[in-house]
């Protein structure tokens, strides 16, 4: 079983990555609570992989891209979706989930992100293969 501190550390990294903001206690607690549910329990192998990733927050974007593009059913994609859902329903982050105004800059940002995501995904795929 992952310890509570490990789970909080994991969620802190997701929050920082997805929102660029600090974590709220509320979101951290919810993530810990979600991990008590049978549908979110990890098996030993998944725990081992997660423990290898946690000390290196820099890996999160790579793994996100790899799972998003190549491995939609990967357990890490499931955890990031859980984190995303918790963040979305936390009043502290609600503004980040409202529609964005149409700006060329925004589209350029999206296009840039999409392009780099492919490269990150390839590296992320290698990382996942290494830690498996």
């Amino acid at each position: 079983m992952m310890s509570e501190e490990e789970l909080r550390q994991e969620m802190r990294q997701y929050i920082r990555y997805i929102t660029g903001r600090k974590s709220t206690e509320h979101a951290l607690q919810l993530f810990v609570r979600a991990n008590e549910q049978p549908s979110f329990l990890l098996n030993q192998e998944e725990e081992n992989q997660l423990r290898k990733i946690l000390p290196h927050p820099i890996l999160i974007p790579l793994i996100d891209c790899a799972t998003g593009l190549f491995l939609p059913n990967h357990f890490l994609r499931k955890r990031m979706t859980l984190a995303f859902a918790i963040i979305e329903t936390d009043t502290a982050y609600v503004d980040l989930f409202m529609p964005r105004p149409f700006r060329i800059y925004g589209f350029a940002q999206l296009a840039f992100r999409g392009t780099t995501a492919v490269f990150k995904a390839i590296i992320g795929r290698v990382v996942l293969w290494k830690i498996a």
């Binding site: 799972t67 859902a85 979305e88 409202m98 529609p99 995904a121």
Partner: protein
């Protein structure tokens, strides 16, 4: 059997749309009616839902994770899209305990069934359509009587809509029609585009307009007009949406009606002048017989199939099955990209689009158009083949332009679509319903063709299909046809008045008798048929 020993003239099984309508008619006719039902209710979420609009709740309610995600985080979907997955935590009670108490096994069909107070009607999208003469005939339903029954049911449940281009296909011709709800920008933009292109589209057989919904826009008794709070998938506090429990709650105040919940009816047995209904308590599996003069089954098509097969002690026959093929077209209207969100959004269908290629109103697929907000972005994340970070940005841009079309196709019988009851000593009832649902290649082709035509029609309205999502067979939640109407008194059929062939006192009020399922929403017709069945039952 002594007449005085039989306390009830009628027992109605089920409190869903059909059970509720049948019971109301029987109670109004003065019979003593007992309703036996699964009767499960939501005990957790209703009290949590705020009396605020969606945006205010999103910004201020610290408890929102409970109703959006669920206390067990059951609102977060994973894996392949399945029927019922989109039910929000406050609606999930609808399907509670079904796998344990009324098990179903299939690798080709995943339906939703209910043991709830109000049945599937707790979550139905309220879409109401009046079937055309050709469709009624294909369903095995009497045209003139059904047309009268539509009016009765329309008045009972309250239907809003508009007499527009789609009026031939919706329920807009009902006398009691209330005005339509407003449109949000998704619906308005698409309808404006349709007005400009309608000559070309009509020539191809496409008609678009406001859907008829069992949603009131003017107060009726204690039901308030639609409040535009965008909690349509979560709460029914205002009772503006018709839910069958509204009818049953009212019936409970009548002296000749009683409601008994917490039961799974297993079978019935007929004596010359009565019916004995065998039920098992959900909580402790204890058995109890109930006695009545006539039995009316409104337990949903699959539920009724179980009860009838078990009662005939017939484990082997295959009963045919109908279920409308269904898919979602996830679309975007680029003109709306980056626009501010409307002050209100509407969860229910905004528009309906019908394809009547030969103009006979006999084979008409239907598309229901929705905007997207109240289900939140995390539901879409799973469907996007992007990393979370890019998907987040992408979805924020897209949100105001998201347009979802739910596409329903007409459905006829074919050989590899059937249900069967099979012994299984490990289950609550000692058996399980097995479903095989494999459409023919021709049926699949027709569905693909319809999807393509709807996609093209949407494109001509500047609405572009991003993804075609197939949630699998059974996902339409429209079922019928297991006990086809027939006047030849064959076993496992229904006579035109709803009586089970071979029985004297057992009637079926749900969609089991329908011999065809039009693409249009069937529930108004289910309710009209239930009323008709109940209207015709006589005590000899």
């Amino acid at each position: 059997m002594e007449d005085s020993l039989i306390r009830w003239d009628m027992i109605v099984v089920g409190s869903g749309c059909t059970g509720a309508m049948a019971a109301q008619t029987l109670v109004e006719r003065g019979f003593k009616v007992l309703m036996i039902d699964g009767g499960l209710k939501d005990e957790i979420y209703q009290s949590l839902l705020p009396d605020k609009d969606f945006l205010t709740a999103r910004q201020t309610d610290k408890q929102q994770h409970r109703y959006f995600l669920g206390d067990k985080f059951e609102g977060i979907p994973f894996g392949h899209v399945k029927a019922g997955e989109h039910l929000t935590p406050p609606r999930k009670f609808m399907t509670q305990l079904t796998q344990q108490k009324i098990p179903l096994q299939s690798s080709t069909f995943s339906p939703i069934e209910s043991l709830a107070y109000g049945g599937l009607g707790n979550g139905w999208g309220l879409g109401c359509c009046v079937f055309s003469e050709a469709e009624l005939k294909a369903c095995g339903l009497p045209v003139a009587e059904m047309n009268e029954a539509y009016e009765v049911v329309g008045k009972r449940i309250g239907v809003s809509g508009a007499k527009d281009d789609a009026a031939n296909y919706t329920a807009a011709r009902l006398d009691s029609l209330q005005p339509s709800i407003g449109l949000d920008s998704v619906g308005k933009n698409l309808l404006d585009n349709y007005q400009q292109k309608k000559t070309t589209l009509n020539r191809k057989g496409f008609y678009m307009g406001r859907p008829s919904l069992a949603l009131i826009t003017e107060a009726v008794d204690d039901r308030k007009p639609y409040p535009y709070k965008d909690f349509d998938f979560y709460s029914d506090k205002d009772k503006s949406a018709y839910r069958p429990w509204i009818t049953v709650d009212k019936l409970k105040t009548q002296a000749n009606f009683a409601y008994d919940s917490g039961w799974v009816v297993e079978s019935f047995e007929e004596t010359p002048d009565s019916v004995i209904v065998h039920a098992r308590k959900i909580s402790d599996a204890s058995k109890q017989p109930f006695m009545c003069k006539k039995l009316v089954l409104g337990s949903g098509v699959l539920g009724t199939a179980r009860i009838v097969l078990r009662s005939a002690n017939a484990l082997s026959p295959k009963l045919p099955l109908l279920s409308n093929p269904f898919s979602y077209l996830a679309c975007s209207q680029p003109f709306l990209l980056g626009k501010d969100l409307d002050p209100y959004k509407i969860g229910f269908a905004q528009l309906s689009m019908f394809l009547d290629e030969d103009g006979t109103n006999s084979y008409v697929p239907m598309g229901s158009v929705y905007s997207y907000r109240a289900m939140l972005l995390f539901h879409l994340l799973k469907e996007s083949p992007l990393d979370v970070k890019t998907a987040h940005l992408f979805l924020q841009f897209m949100m105001p332009s998201f347009t979802i079309m739910g596409l329903f196709h007409p459905e006829s019988y074919s050989a590899e679509k059937y249900v069967q009851l099979e012994k299984d000593n490990t289950t609550f009832s000692g058996d399980k319903l097995k479903v095989n649902y494999v459409p023919t290649a021709k049926e699949d082709e027709l569905v693909k063709r319809n999807e393509k035509l709807f996609g093209q029609a949407l494109r001509s309205l500047n609405c572009f299909v991003l993804r075609n999502i197939a949630p699998g067979h059974g996902a339409s939640i429209h079922y019928g046809g297991t006990l086809p109407f027939s006047d030849t008194n064959e076993p496992f059929h229904l006579l035109p008045d709803g009586r089970l062939c071979g029985s004297k006192n057992v009637y079926v009020a749900d969609g089991s008798g329908f011999t065809f399922l039009p693409g249009k929403g069937l529930t108004l017709s289910l309710m009209a048929n239930a009323h008709l069945v109940a209207k015709q039952i006589r005590l000899d």
